[in-house]
């Protein structure tokens, strides 16, 4: 990374990292995990800076790394790696006013499988097109449509479940 690359990378981080961090938070549901996820993705970005800059959207690359890395973390935990400081899904319940909806949706989002969750976040939070989501997830547009449909059905069911439990 030469001085010019460093300047460009610094500008990219300064302008885009706040939005990317919000995406990371929606993918992980945890502040600390979101910080780690974004850092990992940005390190991968700086490592391949020139190649990425020439070939594709930097933001799309960062989002792709975050989605894939998030899946890797999940697999690692499944395969027995003991992350000593376990990531805590720390969504504090809050049922006052408008924040109630946000809280319910956050918690419902955590119940979705990784791919469906990523689809919902990229499609409805980042407002990406189905084609852009397909590119990031490495699948067809048809798969994005079906994953979105399944995700919304599950999300609706989860919202009802959580809402009922809260009322009890």
């Amino acid at each position: 990374v030469n001085a010019t690359d460093a300047e460009e990378f610094t500008a990219f981080v300064a302008t885009r990292s706040p939005a990317l961090l919000r995406t990371a938070f929606m993918l992980t549901g945890d502040d600390r995990a979101a910080e780690d996820l974004l850092q990992t993705a940005l390190l991968a970005t700086v490592r391949h800076w020139r190649r990425i800059r020439e070939r594709e959207s930097l933001e799309a690359f960062v989002r792709r790394v975050m989605v894939n890395e998030r899946r890797s973390w999940f697999r690692r935990r499944q395969s027995g790696e003991v992350a000593v400081a376990e990531i805590v899904e720390s969504m504090t319940p809050d049922f006052t006013g408008r924040s109630a909806d946000a809280d319910l949706v956050s918690r419902a989002l955590l119940t979705l499988p990784h791919r469906q969750r990523a689809t919902v976040v990229l499609r409805f939070f980042d407002d990406l097109s189905e084609a852009e989501v397909a590119s990031i997830l490495g699948c067809s547009v048809g798969t994005v449509k079906s994953q979105t449909s399944k995700a919304l059905i599950k999300l609706r069911a989860a919202l009802v479940n959580i809402d009922e439990r809260c009322e009890l």
Partner: protein, 302 residues
């Protein structure tokens, strides 16, 4: 449907508003990137040495990384630490310890383009200084540094090393730049499976890993941070937890997309074991595997 989707969008954005996460600074990321380059070069250098290309030295590391070390300085061996384990040993007590220049400890949060250029120039100067310091220590060793190097030469892993039976390279003792300074370092590179070697036109044999690899590095205390607090203060990699190695509290870091590390200080030695599983992304190295390697280290008695 559209109205429902709009409500979902709204709720998602309000959920994100509740996050208190803090984005990493570009300066920190660039620093971490440089550290990665150092270690990657160290591994590549060790591999090349094993196939007869020649020993690597910090000069190669400093220049191959583009912009070199942040800073270089020399710290007395009796630097304070909060650890309960002994922080010196006979081999290290009189040896040189190289530490960061305090001026680099507090990077500006929003560097301007001109300050970045100045930083890059300063880093190049520091890299040259690091290379010179390493060269001097190698070419004109004092009694103390000879003693330190001899002690490091004796440090080894059992053959086969537990969990990583394949030698990827001959063990080396060389000056290594950790980004925060240079220090004599014992480097041991092992793998689970043999790699696939190809000979390039220049005659250099390039070996591609086929599975998990582990790099164990040992240096006198002060060469690199090993506690969660010190790793954080040095803007090192994310700490993902703690564990125990050789009876001491050890720090587990995720140093890269496909790397984790276990860092510990034992009897005056800083020990870093990094697991790399980039060749097979779904086969991650675990902290337990790295702890087993660290526990198996021999001849740490100085």
């Amino acid at each position: 449907v559209s109205e429902a989707e709009d409500r979902l969008r709204d709720a998602l954005h309000r959920a994100a508003d509740r996050s208190n996460a803090v984005a990493p600074s570009a300066e920190r990321l660039l620093r971490l990137h440089r550290h990665h380059v150092y270690r990657r070069n160290a591994m590549v250098g060790a591999s090349l040495a094993a196939v007869g290309v020649g020993a690597w030295a910090v000069t190669d590391v400093a220049t191959a990384g583009g912009s070199g070390s942040d800073t270089v300085g020399v710290r007395p061996a009796t630097s304070p630490s909060s650890r309960g384990t002994p922080l010196t040993n006979a081999a290290c007590a009189a040896g040189p310890l190289v530490t960061p220049n305090p001026s680099a400890a507090s990077p500006s949060p929003s560097p301007s383009p001109s300050s970045l250029r100045a930083d890059a120039a300063a880093q190049d100067q520091a890299a040259a200084a690091a290379a010179q310091a390493a060269h001097d220590a190698t070419e004109h060793p004092s009694t103390a540094t000879s003693q330190e190097k001899a002690a490091l030469d004796r440090i080894s892993l059992p053959d086969p090393a537990p969990g990583f039976p394949v030698w990827r390279a001959k063990d080396t003792t060389a000056m290594t730049d950790f980004g925060s300074g240079v220090a004599w370092t014992r480097t041991m590179l092992r793998a689970v499976k043999p790699g696939t070697s190809t000979t390039e036109g220049s005659g250099v044999i390039d070996t591609t890993p086929n599975g998990q690899e582990a790099t164990v590095m040992v240096a006198c205390h002060g060469a690199f941070p090993t506690t969660p607090r010190a790793v954080g203060a040095a803007h090192e990699y994310p700490v993902i937890g703690t564990t125990t190695a050789r009876g001491q509290a050890a720090t587990v870091v995720r140093s890269d997309t496909h790397q984790i590390g276990v860092l510990v200080t034992v009897d005056g030695w800083d020990i870093a074991a990094y697991g790399d599983y980039g060749a097979v992304p779904n086969d991650p190295v675990t902290p337990a595997q790295l702890v087993t390697l660290v526990d198996a280290l021999e001849h740490l008695d100085g």
